[in-house]
């Protein structure tokens, strides 16, 4: 039996959940922590194994597919599979979970077992979102990521309003879930009408089948806007972004690192919103681009007003979401590959910065500039890492931020000049707010006595940050490693989106000829 017949994807979804059970059942805290750590390490290895099994030259078709009936009456299946677009998110999620577990090793003060168990559950469900190829299963995993976040934020948050922040987050996500579900149902009904079958049996939630079914013209815009509305809460896009700054201020930093590191909303836009309503997507790509531009500049300007590192990072990450959306809206291979690259960068760069903010918070009890200043002289190692990640986040050459932003800007300039120029202005803004904060917090003289007594990074923390740091530099010098993985998948994605319109155009041209 060839190894591809093992249900690898199910294993990497279920393994952390089993690990979570074991973690929460063991009564010894030390042992349960170790179990959680072991589970996360093995999960990382498993996802890397899946990445190794994945054949990137055929990245346009789903691989490692598993297909079992789940609710046969409604034609809902338990279907998993990965293609060139989703494959990279699996190891990234596993890596980020591992980082979060190591980062919170000593900083959790109560309910240790539950904390680590919930982090593992979150990893399992998040990987489920990336691997599901049945829209109902996608929706299930999508909603299942909510409870772990709710409890993690509400129970272990560091701010006084953590419960309110957790509630705000959950309500926003539930609000996003409703249009999502409607969109999925409309698509399933559309399939039934398209094949002229009886209602419950002819429904389809299978992503591959839905992609092949043409969507009725009058439904295109409806489905597109429903999905966009649903995903914009999670992404987040202006004006649905207000939960993120609140969450970063109130939630524990290892959890907010997960929140800003895994951009499920953008993945959803890329996976469902655009390909399932292709005509509307092509027709309204300019609107998507403008939405991205507004998000980019608006939150970038607000970020320059922030005095707290965690809040600043929240706004900076929203601003980068806007940039990614501009790249997606360009509908060019460069823009889309840049967008996927940038999504990987979120995991490597933004979340590492958030973890560093967590280290400062853990030592000093604050990340407010008022309480900082001159950290560079006291914590040189932390400062080194911080500056490396900060330069990556403002896309300096030599870091992985540069090829990603270059591709995004290039893609945008190719289709809409003004969006490309806006993206460039965003690059200046991002340098301005990041450097201005760094100056106030890290440079200059040490003015507070508390800072003199700070400890620099411990070996555990250095080890934790070295992995993303190395990856950033490697990808900065050899971006082709990453671009090769999703090349064919992006080509197929674009052909699917643009081809029907091309055919139509040809038809019209032929009609006009005689």
């Amino acid at each position: 039996m060839s190894p591809t017949h093992y249900p690898f994807l199910s294993i990497i979804i279920l393994w952390p959940i089993f690990g979570a059970m074991a973690t929460s059942l063991v009564s010894d805290i030390k042992l349960s922590k170790r179990i959680a750590l072991g589970t996360a390490i093995i999960e990382c290895i498993l996802t890397l194994l899946v990445l190794g099994l994945f054949n990137s030259t055929e990245g346009n078709i789903y691989q490692l597919v598993e297909h079992y009936p789940w609710i046969p009456r409604l034609n809902i299946h338990y279907a998993l599979g990965v293609d060139g677009i989703s494959i990279l998110f699996l190891p990234m999620t596993a890596l980020l979970t591992l980082s979060a577990i190591i980062a919170s090793w000593n900083s959790v003060q109560q309910l240790h077992r539950q904390h680590f168990a919930l982090l593992l559950v979150l990893a399992g469900t998040t990987i489920g979102v990336f691997a599901a190829i049945d829209t109902m299963l996608f929706f299930l995993f999508w909603e299942l990521t909510l409870p772990p976040f709710f409890f993690l934020m509400g129970l272990w948050g560091i701010g006084p309003k953590r419960r309110s922040a957790a509630m705000k987050y959950t309500l926003f996500m539930l609000f996003g879930g409703v249009p999502l579900l409607f969109g999925i149902l409309i698509l399933a009904m559309n399939h039934a009408t398209a094949v002229n079958g009886p209602l419950p049996e002819a429904l389809s939630f299978d992503l591959i089948k839905l992609l092949e079914t043409p969507l009725a013209d009058h439904l295109q815009l409806v489905v597109f806007s429903l999905f966009l509305l649903g995903f914009s809460a999670k992404a987040p896009l202006v004006p649905f972004h207000t939960w993120l700054p609140t969450a970063t201020m109130e939630g524990p930093t290892q959890v907010t690192a997960l929140l800003i590191g895994l951009k499920l909303g953008l993945y959803g836009i890329l996976r469902l919103a655009l390909p399932l309503a292709p005509e509307a997507a092509v027709q309204y790509s300019w609107a998507l681009g403008i939405l991205g531009a507004i998000t980019l500049v608006y939150t970038g300007l607000i970020a320059s007003q922030q005095t707290n590192l965690r809040r600043l990072l929240a706004y900076a990450s929203i601003s980068h979401v806007g940039l990614v959306l501009i790249g997606i809206a360009s509908l060019t291979p460069q823009g889309l590959q840049g967008a996927l690259f940038q999504l990987v960068n979120f995991t490597l760069i933004s979340s590492s910065l958030m973890l560093i903010a967590g280290f400062i918070q853990h030592r000093l009890g604050s990340t407010e500039t008022l309480h900082l200043g001159g950290l560079a002289s006291v914590m040189p190692k932390l400062t080194c890492f911080y500056f490396l990640f900060m330069f990556a986040s403002i896309a300096l050459p030599g870091t992985s931020g540069f090829p990603a932003e270059l591709l995004l800007i290039f893609g945008a300039l190719n289709t809409h000049h003004s969006l490309g120029i806006t993206a460039l202005v965003g690059a200046v803004l991002s340098a301005a707010y990041m450097l201005a904060y760094s100056r106030r917090a890290f440079l200059g003289p040490v003015t507070r006595t508390a800072i003199h007594q700070l400890h620099d990074l411990r070996p555990r923390e250095i080890g934790l940050l070295s992995v993303p740091a190395l990856l950033i530099i490697i990808l900065g010098f050899a971006p082709a490693v990453l671009l090769k993985v999703n090349e064919t998948a992006i080509d197929a994605w674009l052909t699917h989106l643009l081809e029907p319109t091309k055919v139509e155009r040809n038809e019209i041209a032929q009609l006009n000829k005689p």
């Binding site: 509630m167 007003q305 806006t422 450097l435 971006p479």
Partner: protein
């Protein structure tokens, strides 16, 4: 012989990585390791210098093929960017000259920086800078040059921050970096337009590709790259960053702002000669900006009281002249001027610390009394023509205020519109508040709303119910009286406030910019 070119930037880069790793891991520390750091860095740069001269010799003997490609760095659909080098002509001459200057300055720094706390940091950064600069001049395509351009900018930032405990150093470094970031816009835009219109960003293909461009396209590309060149070479209106950058140690000032990095702008324009030749307007811009900078720098330089600032302005002025030469079409003159200036400026910067010795029997000549007596000219010169203040007034402050307004808007409007009603947990945040509540100290809350909702839909329903109730209560039941008048006045006040806010120049400018972008 072409293959040697790879090692020229690679050696200093490896040295930088080696020293930095040693420094971070703690192997290289303090005065004891000074000699090992100095040996590593100096050997690397000396070897590169030797290689550069070998390459130059081979080129003069026509032994080089002219270019070397190492394969693709980044490819996505039709965008394909190679790692390639030029091993011919101007680029090799510049590489040889720059590596020579760098190796002299690094030798000078060994003694100059002796027993400084940041000795190892300084050497690691300056070695990285050497690699970046050599890559910038040897790279065979525009993106590779941008790579070197940016890393050189980063090193400049890090060396201005050499004494990062000083508040002025960190302020100046940030300002310099952000000013240069504007040039990066031009550079990236220029590269993107070149690739989009010609399909290649290789320097060697430019003469062939430029022929295909129309005048307007060539002008657009040339203007974008000029923006980049003007920021890097500190031309008007970007000149003030140069004086701010003088914060770093003297050897770094020499190499960055005296001879090597600052010339990168002129180098860029010279590389784009075929495109500029097709764009007369861009050539005119070069002449105008170059001439203005030359006059400005001469004028301001007259009143500088410290040697480094006056040298900075002298440099900016000379670069202005080089731009004028480029604009007039004397490209080879500009190249010779660039090389000669780099050598002279290197000498004058390195001797700056011992200025007192050199002027002892040779006093500086005062300027002509007729000019010295013009009051306004003196003030303008002292204030450096208010360029810094102008940038603050036109760009920094409006953007800061706009950001402040938006931040307020986000917290008070968007958050409330999108937010959920404050949960009950939040209502009582302290015991004192609970007590107040029990005593009934909040009479305004006594009148409870009839409905309460959560989420967007709930909020809308409850809000709508509240408005209808209020309308009925105040207007229909109590009659149109005081309340309506009060409300009208309040509305008027809000409208006035809004109008005042919108009429502020920053909003007008923002509005115009948005319209322009949309029309574009």
């Amino acid at each position: 012989m072409d293959n040697l070119v790879v090692l020229i930037p690679l050696l200093p880069f490896s040295a930088a990585v080696l020293v930095a790793t040693g420094y971070i891991t703690g192997y290289i520390k303090g005065e004891a390791s000074e000699s090992s750091t100095a040996t590593i860095v100096n050997w690397a740069i000396n070897m590169s210098c030797l290689l550069a001269f070998t390459l130059l010799g081979a080129d003069l003997l026509h032994k080089n093929r002219g270019s070397l490609s190492l394969g693709s760095w980044l490819s996505s659909d039709d965008l394909n960017i190679e790692i390639n080098f030029i091993t011919h002509g101007f680029n090799v001459i510049l590489a040889a000259l720059f590596s020579l200057i760098l190796s002299i300055i690094l030798r000078f720094s060994v003694n100059y920086m002796h027993r400084e706390t940041g000795f190892h940091r300084f050497f690691a950064i300056i070695s990285l800078f050497a690699a970046a600069m050599l890559f910038l001049v040897l790279s065979g395509n525009a993106l590779g040059s941008f790579f070197g351009w940016e890393i050189a900018g980063l090193c400049s930032y890090l060396l201005i921050l050499y004494t990062y405990q000083r508040p002025s150093a960190s302020v100046n470094a940030t300002r310099v970096f952000i000013t240069n970031r504007f040039g990066d816009i031009g550079f990236i835009l220029g590269i993107s337009l070149t690739v989009a219109w010609t399909g290649s960003a290789n320097w060697l293909d430019l003469p062939r590709l430029a022929a295909e461009l129309s005048t307007s396209e060539a002008t657009a590309i040339a203007l974008c790259f000029s923006l980049a060149a003007f920021t890097k070479s500190a031309q008007v209106p970007f000149t003030p960053w140069l004086a701010r950058a003088m914060e770093g140690p003297t050897p770094s000032s020499t190499v960055f702002y005296g001879s090597v990095m600052i010339s990168a702008g002129v180098y860029l324009v010279c590389m784009l000669e075929p495109i500029f030749e097709k764009a007369p307007f861009a050539m005119a811009v070069l002449i105008v900006i170059g001439a203005i900078t030359a006059i400005h720098s001469y004028w301001v330089g007259l009143t500088q009281t410290d040697i480094k600032s006056s040298l900075a302005y002298a440099t900016a002025g000379q670069l202005g002249l080089m731009f004028v030469e480029c604009g007039l079409g004397y490209w080879s003159l500009a190249i010779w001027h660039l090389c000669a200036h780099a050598i002279v400026r290197c000498y004058s910067f390195l001797t700056a610390p011992s200025l007192m010795h050199s002027v002892k029997n040779n006093p500086i000549k005062p300027i002509h009394p007729a000019i010295a007596k013009i009051q306004w000219a003196y003030t303008a010169s002292l204030q450096r023509f208010w360029l810094d203040q102008l940038a603050d007034w036109m760009l920094v402050r409006p953007i800061r205020r706009l950001a402040h307004d938006l931040s307020y808007f986000d917290d008070h409007v968007v958050n409330h519109l999108m937010g959920i009603p404050t949960p009950t947990i939040n209502a009582i945040s302290s015991l004192a508040e609970l007590e107040e509540k029990l005593l009934g100290a909040h009479p305004e809350h006594s009148q409870r709303p009839f409905t309460s909702g959560s989420g967007i839909a709930g909020k809308i329903t409850s809000g709508f119910a509240g408005v209808v109730h209020w309308f009925e209560d105040r207007f229909i039941l109590r009659g149109i009286g005081k309340d309506a008048l009060h409300l009208g006045r309040q509305l008027g006040r809000i409208a006035n406030k809004f109008e005042l806010l919108v009429l502020r120049p920053r909003y007008l400018v923002l509005f115009i910019l948005t319209t322009l972008l949309l029309a574009f």
